[in-house]
């Protein structure tokens, strides 16, 4: 397995992805605050190493399913931030032509079957996708992202069991950010590790430090290799933390300022930057250049997103059904 912090190319790519996610979401946060975006949004700031570490283990033709907190997955899998921003701005140029917004961005071309507004809604879909690949004789793998809260939904249970009994090429990645909205995992679970649930279905589970890019990447690499080899699913619990509120309406009443501050000390990006610096792979100038690139990407995304035309209300009813035959 690649030691990311010592491989200049890999380090640069991973850092660019993480910073792009970070800046993208900071921009979105600011635009919401200034009333330039409407609806709601769920930011993954602080969790960038999970999406980045997981998606770097995948081929472009491998698939992911994502969640309401999906900007990171989407960017990491290779979507165009400009079309994402366009979508958030409700533009016809957005990935969903302005119909979906933040919770529904998909980009089939880069292998993202979509965010999902329903907690755990993507898990059975990921299982079905991986079954399709098996039936098609393909060696594609599907990675399914979901939160700690999602692991208490019936959909998780049913889907995990189907993946198990059919030995499907799917990797279940539980982003345990300690809360489902306001509900701490300590109250929502009576088990220490969500990864322990894998044993209930008969496949392997592993808990990793979700703020350690290398750890995530290694675990997913292995799980993907197993899945691709026909050895079935794996559950990876990546322990991380969400810096921002759950969504716009969150007043952070369920956690302390200290806790948040403490986790900010464990910033996955700063940590990986330090590792590359320590390893002598990238210097301050190199790191600054990556940040600048990411900032430019996001700036350009905002420009592109704003440039898109608004969708037309006349095109609602005709868009409900897909046309033709399959």
């Amino acid at each position: 397995m690649t030691k990311l912090a010592t491989d200049p190319d890999a380090a640069r790519r991973a850092l660019t992805t993480m910073w792009t996610i970070r800046h993208f979401e900071e921009a979105v946060d600011a635009m919401f605050a200034r009333g330039l975006m409407h609806g709601t949004m769920h930011l993954s700031i602080g969790q960038e190493a999970v999406a980045t570490g997981a998606c770097r283990a995948l081929r472009t033709d491998d698939l992911i399913t994502s969640t309401h907190r999906g900007h990171g997955h989407c960017i990491a899998k290779g979507a165009d931030p400009g079309r994402m921003m366009a979508e958030l701005l409700g533009s016809e140029a957005g990935y969903c032509r302005g119909r979906g917004g933040s919770m529904h961005i998909a980009d089939v071309a880069s292998g993202n079957l979509g965010a999902n507004g329903i907690v755990a809604g993507g898990i059975p879909i990921a299982v079905g996708a991986s079954l399709a690949h098996r039936l098609q004789g393909s060696d594609r793998v599907t990675v399914c992202f979901f939160g700690d809260g999602a692991a208490n939904e019936g959909a998780f249970h049913e889907a995990a069991n189907l993946a198990a009994i059919w030995d499907l090429p799917v990797v279940l990645i539980c982003e345990n950010n300690h809360y489902g909205m306001s509900m701490p995992t300590t109250r929502a679970f009576r088990v220490e590790q969500i990864a322990a649930r894998a044993a209930a279905y008969g496949f392997g589970g592993e808990t990793v430090d979700g703020n350690d890019l290398q750890a995530v990447s290694d675990a997913v690499d292995e799980a993907v290799a197993r899945a691709r080899a026909g050895a079935g699913p794996t559950l990876i619990e990546a322990v991380t933390y969400r810096w921002k509120g759950h969504s716009k309406s969150d007043q952070n009443r369920y956690r302390t300022r200290e806790e948040i501050a403490d986790w900010k000390q464990r910033d996955p990006i700063a940590r990986f930057e330090a590792a590359t610096r320590d390893a002598g792979t990238l210097d301050d100038a190199g790191l600054a250049a990556i940040r600048a690139t990411a900032r430019d990407t996001v700036r350009e995304a905002i420009r592109a997103g704003r440039a898109g035309p608004p969708p037309s209300p006349d095109d609602l009813l005709p868009a409900v059904y897909a046309q033709g035959v399959v």
């Binding site: 329903i118 059975p124 079905g128 996708a129 399709a132 098609q136 069991n161 009994i165 059904y321």
Partner: protein, 334 residues
Amino acid sequence: MPAATTVTMTYAEAVRAALAEELEADPRVVLLGEDIGVYGGAFGVSQGLLDRFGAERVRDTPISEEGIVGAAVGLALCGMLPVAEMQFSDFTANAMDQLVNQAAKLHFMLGGAVRVPLVLRLPAGSGTGAAAQHSQSQEAWYVHTPGLKVVMPSNPADAKGLLHSAIHDPNPVVFFEHKLLYRTSGPVPPEAGFRVPLGKAAVPREGRDLTIVATGVMVSRSLAAADELAGEGVEACVVDPRTLSPCDDATILERVSATGRVLLVQEAPRTAGFMAEVAARIAESSAFSDLAAPVARLCGLDTPIPYNPDLEKAAVPQVPDIVQAASRLLKGND
């Protein structure tokens, strides 16, 4: 329309034949559901298909309805044509998120980036003594869900022809099969894969005096009632929408206008059922002014389906009820 030469088969055989022909012809087609393999399905519909097509394509699942429909969504997104079965339509209650929040919406919600060509087969209806959790007729829920198509064939030819169309439709199709129809026989065109288009009503009987619009098992009951009525000199036209969503309004409204009287017959509970929509479309259309009497509905009672066989019969329209309702409608002042 059945061709000149037809073969006779039961409704269950017709559904099975459609599945077999699709599995044969199209490698994208895959069946999944509870006990559809060696058991042959709770109603024997998929009997023999496991032997012919193997366990990968005729896939027994655990008892996990949400998982089944969700897997079908994933399969459909990735180029397959899944035909999933809920053992009884009632169990769709366990899979509503995947059906309604995912399958129905994905195409629109993702701006057209994907399509979800799945078929969900739902054995439905009362009359088997299986009581309230195994006897429902909930087609109205799905008709009220934008993005779903809803099909309800009333005879073997339509069952086969509509299933072929449903499988090759690029949208999620909810396919209602009434359990009491499975053993009824009828002529079916022999051509493999012949399709009955979605969205076209059938008019199995023309008549000048009133129009009966009926769905599912109520179609044959309405035809039987029409025969009786004919004995009394009354000629009833019977319209079978076949596809409830999108519904063929034109055919219905034309017959309603022509006859000036309309009786709407469904098995489902009256309130907010499919026939409420048909009534509303008539009431807001130009056919309204052609009506010589108020619209009449004959529906299932607004109750859960009871177990006792006499109560169960009393809870949904039977042939004499249809005759009576039609006669009452005709006595209304002209």
